[in-house]
């Protein structure tokens, strides 16, 4: 039951990363990292999740901005989605990411929401967000995956006690671009491939990413591997703004002489993690980029899909979006 009234907590506003790392180490699971707050504030206002201490990261300058590196770009985790959408660097080389960022939520949310927050956000399953005691919330059932569960927005793949999906629009784009995530904690820095950053319920049902309580995602690196490739991003949602994707698709491909030489294609909204469509990649690699290949690719995308009671539409929708990615990119 939504409470709509934020409870008291201690607020910390560190101005540098080392200060923030001290705080996350000190508070561990009792601390709550906040960037744009577009995920966090819902939880706190609804009193569905609680914390003793909120650690506001937004004053840490070193986690902001977009920098060119020797082999690509590094995007500070606190860079807003609007900054990504408008960055000429990103638009020139990685239009796929700019396009995905431009379709997140609404302009107001993009103005405060960050790329780090967008990829780290929690599941949007309405039962879970409503504060119900499901597996993901530490309970012993899944309310969505029942004969009567209202699971229109839930997964086609990878159900494992939980049927929530990855809600992010930028995550599929980052996986398609073979990005990597820079994570810091008191022990130092580690870099994780975007594809491995997201985890499903079979790995840990209470987390969506590898981030632990004392970790801070500081930056995202995009290698030049897919710079200026042929891109396709599309999001299908109920409304043209604000809503999460029913299904989204992000593809990066190298096309030469009408032939798809290489491709990474990733779908959101169909699995707890951004789903890399390896089957599709295998089907189209080396084939002509035409309507026939596109149709074949679309049909292959849903192999292994197991629909729930209310989401079978995601099968043709995923197939169509994959077909469009190959056909229209």
């Amino acid at each position: 039951m939504s409470k709509d009234m934020m409870p008291m907590f201690e607020l910390f506003q560190p101005t540098d990363l080392s200060g923030a790392l001290d705080l996350v180490e000190r508070y561990g699971a009792d601390g709550w990292k906040v960037a744009g707050g577009q995920d966090s504030l819902d939880w706190l206002k609804d009193r569905a999740k609680r914390t003793k201490a909120v650690i506001d990261l937004t004053r840490i300058a070193e986690m902001k901005g977009i920098r060119e590196t020797a082999d690509g770009l590094e995007i500070g985790a606190l860079t807003t989605l609007t900054e990504i959408e408008e960055s000429s660097l990103i638009r020139e080389k990685f239009a796929l990411l700019a396009g995905a960022a431009s379709r997140v939520a609404s302009p107001q949310i993009r103005n405060v929401g960050t790329i780090g927050g967008n990829v780290s956000q929690d599941a949007r399953c309405w039962y879970y967000r409503g504060g119900m005691d499901c597996y993901r919330a530490g309970g012993s059932t899944c309310y969505a995956d029942t004969p009567q569960g209202m699971n229109r927005e839930h997964c086609l793949f990878g159900a494992d006690r939980c049927v929530a999906v990855s809600p992010s629009d930028t995550a599929p784009a980052l996986v398609a671009l073979d990005a990597s995530m820079v994570i810091q904690n008191a022990d130092g820095e580690r870099v994780v491939a975007a594809e491995d950053f997201f985890i499903g319920p079979q790995v840990d049902i209470e987390r969506m990413t590898v981030l632990q309580a004392d970790d801070i995602l500081t930056a995202i690196r995009i290698p030049n591997t897919w710079a200026n490739a042929t891109f396709y991003f599309e999001k299908v949602a109920d409304r043209k703004t604000w809503d999460f994707a029913l299904v989204n698709i992000a593809a990066a491909m190298r096309v030469s002489g009408g032939t798809i030489e290489d491709i990474r294609i990733v779908a959101g909204g169909v699995e707890c993690v951004p789903r890399r469509l390896s089957v599709v990649e295998n089907v189209v690699k080396g084939s002509a980029k035409n309507a026939d290949t596109a149709k074949l690719a679309g049909g292959s995308a849903s192999r292994g899909a197991i629909p729930l009671n209310y989401n079978q539409f995601k099968i043709p929708l995923l197939e169509n979006l994959v077909m469009r990615a190959i056909r229209d990119a």
Partner: protein, 801 residues
């Protein structure tokens, strides 16, 4: 007739406050010593509270008091209550706690221990109608306004005798009427359709939640609330608080949206008054977005079945309609009786039978939402005209004209007359504004995965009442004070209709002030601002009061300068002799003279037939100027109709199930146009809401747990700015209604239903004549239909994705 003010744009006086942020809504008020209340809401859809322990909460510093169901009047029948020990829906308030601040109150609520005994609950009316099925209330499963709580069960045979997914029509109804020889009319029909359909419930989600603040002072109860209505609201609100309405001071200057849900008094508004009385402090109850979802009511859903027969020439011969209304657990609203009336008037069938009943459900309480019943049924019925048009080879606008009502039309079970009706003209104007002849040729035009769909829709709502009072006052400074007790739901019709008084008195609008929004401003007895009625009802009341003031001006001039009142006329805020230009007096002078003459002139002797509220207001104003006060005693014979037409062109993407609305034009038959800009805004805003009704908004409940999926604003999916056309066209018939003194009648509701049904028809047009028999039609339904898959929901399923 050329008017000085009517038919011209103006800036309503409350716009400045809204634009600058100075407008004060209920939650903006603060008074000395004010504290905050928070509510504990039921987590169960139907239960009995067996124990409440507030000791830990009450021991918290800053907590000032607890209010439970034992402190407020008990419920009667299926009427809504302020607090309950028998919650009938998740979100129903059990108790409230007041504290020095809101966070403390919310923290204290979490310390309360409530034990519940769960009771059977029901989301789907058909489950409740089945023999032995669960009832939403212990006292029965059927109730509505004017229908007492009772138990109705159909027989297993009723269910067994129809095909699967077909609504039984043999089950016992609660409301039933018919006219004409139904079966004979079906017999001679060239085409007959028989369809089972569902229209979803959807939440009002008013932008301003129903916050209220209250305190007691010198024996009076002050309430600052959010309502569409003012004077008519007061007796009911006073009754909820348990006082006489003369002891109630009610302040409601602005309303951040109500859409019907804040027209009549509602129980929650009385909660702060009870808490304030108990703890002796002013109490503010700020209602949150989630609470507004649970307590802000929603449009009733229908499970329906219609048989409709068309003659070869397109005329609707017969309609046989059955509706089962998802009512919510309380008395709800009469959507299910308004809907067949709309069918009857819009299509003028030679014979019609209607049967229906409202079945209680453990979902948020039903309440009137813009075009209650009429707008849902438009979405179910307008597609029939398209199907018949295609089958009989008739243009889709033409078939609507063939069946359209006019001045001689009768409708509903009582075969009531209308005051006037020009739906054929309205269809013509809408078709012209839209460019139907050219655009309809683009129907089903394909470009890749995209296909054009074109649709036309219609809707109706009754649009006026009679018999309320008008009160105007000219003060010795020459200003015309137009006292308005109708309310301000946000459409500016309170201001547009006030100009009728100024028009009659030949006033410069700059010299007029509208007194409103606060019962201390001495307001007359006016009806609620609901049901598209203001333009007609207030038009009559203001006219009556202004004519009274005019007569008094003429009498005062005659008394001052000699001769009879007939020798005088109104000029530019002067009353002057028709013959002798020198014999004249300004309105300011006449007002001063009225005070000297007293009696009827300054309100000291009000007319006998006005409502006691108007009498009291007149008495309070007596001696302050020239008072024009009168009851609307104008003749009325028939129902003033508001009839609307909508035309829409979409481009639907068959691969994603999404669509772009390329064009929209709406037209209205609402009598004389008072305020073109206000009218245009209503037609366009109504279309936006209609787009939501047709393609986005619905309540969704998990039937196993009785919990709601669409509590938040983003989950409820009202259309965004990007989901509606950037520009829309509009038009109006603009023919005066003969039973409204200056020709005005209402229009606010059907401008939603015509757009909703136009969109439903456009989607089906794009899909080559695929009919969903369900609203809203959302992307997943379109994707399933195009890919040849069955829908995930069963045809009669309700409150589902």
């Amino acid at each position: 007739m050329a008017h000085k003010l009517l038919g011209k744009d103006f800036t309503p006086p409350d716009i400045r406050g809204k634009v600058t942020g100075k407008a004060k809504y209920a939650e903006d008020f603060r008074v000395d010593g004010m504290v905050f209340a928070k509510m504990l809401l039921s987590p169960m859809p139907h239960a009995r509270v067996t124990s409440i322990d507030t000791s830990e909460a009450e021991a918290m510093p800053g907590v000032l008091g607890v209010l439970t169901a034992d402190d407020v009047p008990p419920g009667q029948g299926a009427n809504e209550v302020i607090l309950t020990n028998t919650p009938h829906f998740i979100g129903e308030p059990i108790l409230a706690i007041a504290a020095i601040d809101e966070t403390t109150a919310a923290d204290a609520i979490e310390k309360v221990k409530v034990e519940y005994e769960p009771l059977p609950y029901v989301i789907d009316p058909l489950e409740s109608l089945y023999p032995g099925g669960p009832d939403a209330r212990e006292g029965g499963n059927v109730a509505n306004l004017q229908i007492p709580l009772q138990t109705v069960k159909w027989t297993a045979r009723d269910f067994a005798e129809v095909e699967e997914n077909q609504l039984p029509m043999s089950g016992q109804p609660v409301v039933e009427w018919s006219y004409g020889d139904l079966e004979a009319e079906f017999e001679k029909s060239a085409v007959v359709y028989d369809e089972t359909f569902v229209t979803a419930s959807n939440s009002h989600h008013s932008m301003e939640p129903r916050t209220a603040m209250s305190y007691w002072e010198n024996g009076k109860c002050f309430v600052y609330g959010s309502s569409q209505s003012q004077s008519f609201f007061m007796p009911g609100l006073a009754g909820l608080i348990g006082i006489d309405s003369k002891d109630l001071v009610y302040i409601a200057e602005f309303c951040g949206g109500g859409f019907g849900s804040k027209g009549a008094p509602y129980a929650l508004m009385a909660l702060p008054a009870y808490m304030s009385k108990k703890i002796g402090r002013p109490v503010m109850l700020r209602v949150t977005r989630a609470e507004e979802y649970y307590l802000g009511s929603n449009r009733a859903g229908f499970q329906g079945r219609a048989r409709i027969g068309f003659a070869k020439n397109g005329k609707v011969n017969a309609v046989d309609l059955y509706l089962v209304q998802s009512n919510g657990p309380n008395s709800g609203f009469w959507d299910f009786t308004d809907a067949p009336g709309a069918v009857s008037i819009c299509y003028q069938p030679n014979a019609m039978r209607y049967r229906g009943l409202p079945v209680l459900t453990n979902t948020p309480p039903g309440g009137p939402q813009r075009g209650p019943g009429e707008n849902q049924i438009a979405c179910a019925f307008e597609p029939f005209l398209d199907r018949a048009a295609a089958e009989l080879g008739i243009d889709r606008v033409e078939i609507r004209k063939i069946n359209a009502p006019d001045n001689d039309s009768l409708f509903d079970g009582h075969q009531n007359p209308v005051t006037s009706a020009y739906q054929r003209e309205c269809l013509t104007i809408g078709a012209e504004k839209f460019g139907w002849n050219e655009k309809s040729k683009r129907s089903r035009e394909r470009k890749g995965s995209k296909v054009i769909g074109v649709g036309v829709g219609q809707a109706y709502h009754s649009a006026g009442f009679a018999g309320f009072d008008g009160l105007v006052r000219i003060t010795p400074d020459g200003i015309l004070h137009i006292h308005s007790g109708v309310g301000n739901l946000g459409t500016y019709s309170y201001a547009a209709t006030a100009r009728i008084a100024a028009e009659v008195l030949n006033y410069d609008w700059e010299h007029c002030v509208i007194e409103r929004g606060d019962s201390r401003k001495q307001l007359p007895w006016n009806f609620m601002q609901v049901g598209s009625n203001t333009s007609f009802t207030m038009g009559r009341s203001y006219h009556a009061a202004a004519v009274d003031a005019k007569n008094k001006l003429l009498e005062i001039a005659a008394a001052t300068h000699g001769g009879s009142p007939d020798d005088y006329e109104l000029g530019d805020e002067v009353v002057r002799s028709k013959a002798d230009g020198a014999a004249k007096m300004t309105y300011a002078e006449a007002a001063q003279k009225a005070i000297e003459m007293a009696g009827k002139f300054d309100g000291s002797e009000p007319p006998a037939d006005i409502n006691p509220m108007t009498t009291a207001s007149t008495a309070a104003l007596a001696g302050s100027g020239l008072i024009g006060v009168a009851k609307d005693n104008y003749e009325i014979n028939g129902v003033p109709p508001a009839l609307a037409t909508g035309f829409m062109m979409i481009e639907l993407d068959t691969e994603t199930g999404t669509f772009e609305i390329l064009d929209y034009a709406g037209a209205i038959d609402c009598g004389t146009v008072i305020h073109p800009m206000g009218l245009a805004t209503q037609i366009k805003g109504g279309a936006v809401m209609g787009i939501g009704l047709a393609s986005k908004e619905r309540i969704v409940y998990d039937p196993q747990n009785g919990v709601a999926a669409n509590v938040g604003f983003y989950q409820a999916k009202p259309p965004s700015y990007l989901d509606v056309p950037a520009t829309m066209e509009w038009g109006a018939v603009d023919i005066a209604d003969p039973q409204s003194p200056l020709g005005t009648r209402g229009m606010g509701e059907p401008v939603m239903g015509c757009a909703a049904s136009a969109l439903v028809c456009a989607i089906s047009d794009a899909l080559g004549g695929h009919y969903f028999n369900r609203t809203p039609i959302v992307a997943d339904m379109i994707v399933n239909a195009v890919s040849g898959r069955p829908q995930s929901h069963k045809p009669l399923q309700v409150a589902t994705f």
